[in-house]
Amino acid sequence: MRWTVLATCAVGVGFVLAVAATVGGQARHGGALVIRAASDPGTLNGAITTASPAHTVADSIFNGLVQLDARLQPVPDLAERWTVAPDGRTYTFRLARGVRWHDGRPFTSADVKFTYEHVLLTYHARTRAGLEGVLDAVDAPDPHTVVFRFKRPFGALLQRADVTEAPILPRHLYEGTDVLQHPANAVPVGTGPFRFKEWQRGAEVTLVKNEAYFKHGAPSMDLLVFRILPQPALAVIALERGEVHYHDTVPAPDVRRLQATGAFTLVPALAGPGGSFCISTAFPNLTRPPLDQVRVRQAIYQALNREFMVLAVAGGLGRVATAPISRGIPWAHHPGLPPVRYDPARANALLDEAGVRRGADGVRLRLTFPVATTQIRYAEVMRDNLRDVGIEVVVQPMEFTAAVQTVFVRREFDLAFASYCNGPDPDIGVKRMYVSSNIQPIPFSNGAGYRNPRVDDLFDAATRSLDLPQRGRHYRDIQEILWQEVPYFWLVETFRYVGYPRTLRDVQSWSGNVAERAYWSVAR
């Protein structure tokens, strides 16, 4: 009996110790987190650019009005709550109390009003494109209230108000100055979880914990270092060696290898400054015959072996695109579109029906395909696939910016390729591909040159509506039309994998503000 009691006590004590050890292990604070950055940020003011290298760093220094959670739904950030008027024209934000800039000055609604009116609506490409002409005014009736008034109902403000889309700047530093050349762009003052410490150009940017951060218990890390390591494959080796702790684009061949070690967490990054819900997409120049014929485009789409592309080009880190809007936005994605299967025989038949017949040399058509060298493998698979149906594709490899200019600005192409990222809301990243008003000589616009007044109207209706199910219906109607007309060839929904040690917890890999709540679960 006595032994039983002793044994029970021993087990009990052991259990308590084990629990204590686990809890102690989980709550470890402090330390440094080293994040891999692909290139020098250029500027640390995220409000004047949408370039991802700048946001990789700046998003930890600033805040937006809202944050997006793991499902990309808006949750409080600088705004602790908000209301939307029933007519969809007025958004009222109540700001968090006790927020201070890193220089100690209080944050107020005047900062929000100034940032939107004088910076974001002028210099942030996406925010300007999304709100220009729709936003009537930003009011600051008291220091803790901001009111956005729109000319017409506007349903997509909240998804555009996070730190990547709309970081808030300190008015007291920027007002009355040249925002683009302000010294604070290199020595930023934000409200975010980390304060700027040092920028060694080309090498690293170091941030330190904001001890006065307005969110309770955050951040945990003492130091955040962004190390600039341009080569993704070598940065993986640095990750394995512990020289960096967070790699936001682990190359496909390394994902499984790292998983197999058991020492790393690998998660598909849905969003973040590197883009969200990206679909590798090829497109025809719709102004050039015979690509202006639906049947020819359907034939080309059927001739493309997209399963092979998932395996051979995306390294298995993706899935065949089944609709124009990514499955990552479930309320807008159309799940019921008929599958388009790889079927060269059917493609050949369709081309014959369309009157695009083979010549004496067996070639029906010759197409030029200028493409960035970084994306050339998609073009090479397409060239092989299309050769089987009598279409000769001349792949023209070029450097990325040169390809962007050739395709989007000069429009000198028959076929082209882009990774179109959908963004957290179709209003941000999908609409630009299809509305006729966006057939413009600018990068990642409506590259195919697609025009359909019905589609234009449906996108407009979706933007105006506040009712999510209603917006979803509009987007599904759009996708049905697009599926019939095939103005783009939606190839692969790609996953960008993030890798970090298993001992790193609570990483917000979907957000620009990656390390706000991250902590080490064991001593380092």
């Binding site: 440094a32 080293v34 290139s39 020098d40 250029g42 500027t43 650019t49 949408t50 370039a51 991802s52 002028t122 210099y123 490409a125 996406r126 300007r128 494109a129 220009e132 683009l180 050349q181 762009n185 290199a186 060694q200 150009r201 080309g202 090498a203 690293e204 170091t206 130091l223 270092v225 190390r227 600039i228 390591l229 341009p230 080569q231 070598l234 940065a235 080796i237 640095a238 394995e240 060696r241 020289e243 960096v244 070029m398 450097e399 990325f400 910016t401 040169a402 962007v404 200019q405 050739t406 600005v409 941000i428 990243g429 630009r432 413009q440 000589p441 600018i442 990068p443 990642f444």
Partner: protein
């Protein structure tokens, strides 16, 4: 000495118009290349009006001759211009990144010179032996390997497998606390990139030194030296002095190549020097920065050629500056 100064002055005067020509030609070449800094700078998803605004802010909406005239006027004031992407003076950016490149190129140069000359002399002294042939083959292979390949190989072997040295960067993050620890850390990080960068010149220099030394050893004055009963070491020293001249010319070229051509090495090893700056400038179409770097490269070429000429005189008393 006076002759040397006059020679140096004359070289400086002839260098200025050449640098101006380099500036004009590079300006035009860079603009002819496709790509547009506005789209890189401003990011994607903007409206045409927005891109037009950014273009205007950068002065890229002006006619090309006007932009060129403005740029040359800026240069005439001794100013290399303003970086479009980094929004800072080009001169400051180059000065900031120069030490990293000089450290890397300097280490590689020292390594290539010391090891290259040493191996060359060693092989020449044992000409025809198995060791000599082995060295020759190794040197031939070494001088033909691309630097990015050897760089990757070195990383895989010494950083990944053996854990002897760090993978990338110039210093650990977070950086060590004391100055002494920082210097040691930089040296530790320097090992792989310096070896990768030094390999090609090392191989070439050793081959050339061997060849020139063997040629010199066949000269009549060496026969005389041997007849006088000089030791093998003294004889080699005699011959080496003459053999060094052509090697020096090649080394001058390599010194220039190491400074301006470290792009690949710096990219592989994430070394924050001028090579990486040049690559970033090209990818972002940062015109003033590209031009600034090209001009700096051209100026350093002129300077190194001048230095080679001066050293020629120091080594060979028969060369005078007229």
């Amino acid at each position: 000495m006076l002759l040397l100064l006059r020679f140096a002055g004359r070289r400086m005067v002839t260098a200025l118009p050449m640098l101006a020509a380099v500036a004009v030609v590079t300006f035009l070449l860079v603009r002819l290349a496709p790509g547009d800094p506005v789209y890189v700078l401003a990011g994607e998803g903007g409206t045409p009006a927005y891109y037009a605004l950014v273009r205007q802010r950068l002065g890229l909406d002006r006619p090309l001759p006007e932009q060129l005239a403005r740029y040359l006027a800026t240069l005439a004031r001794g100013d290399l211009g303003w970086s479009l992407h980094q929004q800072r003076p080009v001169g400051a950016l180059i000065v900031e990144r120069l030490p990293a490149t000089l450290v890397l190129a300097g280490a590689a140069f020292l390594l290539a010179t010391a090891a290259g000359l040493g191996l060359g002399v060693w092989a020449a002294a044992r000409a025809g032996s198995v060791v000599d042939r082995l060295l020759l083959v190794t040197a031939t292979v070494g001088s033909s390997l691309p630097v990015f390949w050897t760089g990757l190989l070195l990383v895989l072997v010494f950083a990944w497998h053996l854990h002897w040295v760090p993978v990338q960067g110039m210093m650990a993050a977070p950086a060590p606390d004391t100055a002494a620890a920082r210097v040691l850390d930089v040296l530790h990080h320097l090992v792989l990139p310096a070896c990768a960068l030094a390999l090609q010149p090392l191989a070439s220099v050793s081959r050339l030194m061997r060849l020139k030394l063997l040629e010199a050893l066949a000269e009549p004055y060496i026969v005389t030296a041997r007849a006088k009963g000089l030791s093998q070491g003294r004889v080699l020293a005699h011959a080496a002095r003459n053999a060094l001249l052509p090697v020096l010319t090649v080394m001058g070229g390599y010194a220039q190549m190491l400074v301006s051509g470290a792009v690949l090495t710096e990219t592989v090893f994430a070394w924050p020097g001028l090579g990486r700056l040049a690559l970033d400038a090209t990818l972002t179409r940062d015109y003033p920065l590209i031009l600034g770097l090209v001009l700096t490269g051209a100026a350093s070429t002129v300077a190194l050629h001048w230095l080679t000429d001066v050293l020629y005189g120091a080594i060979d008393p028969r060369i005078t500056y007229g």
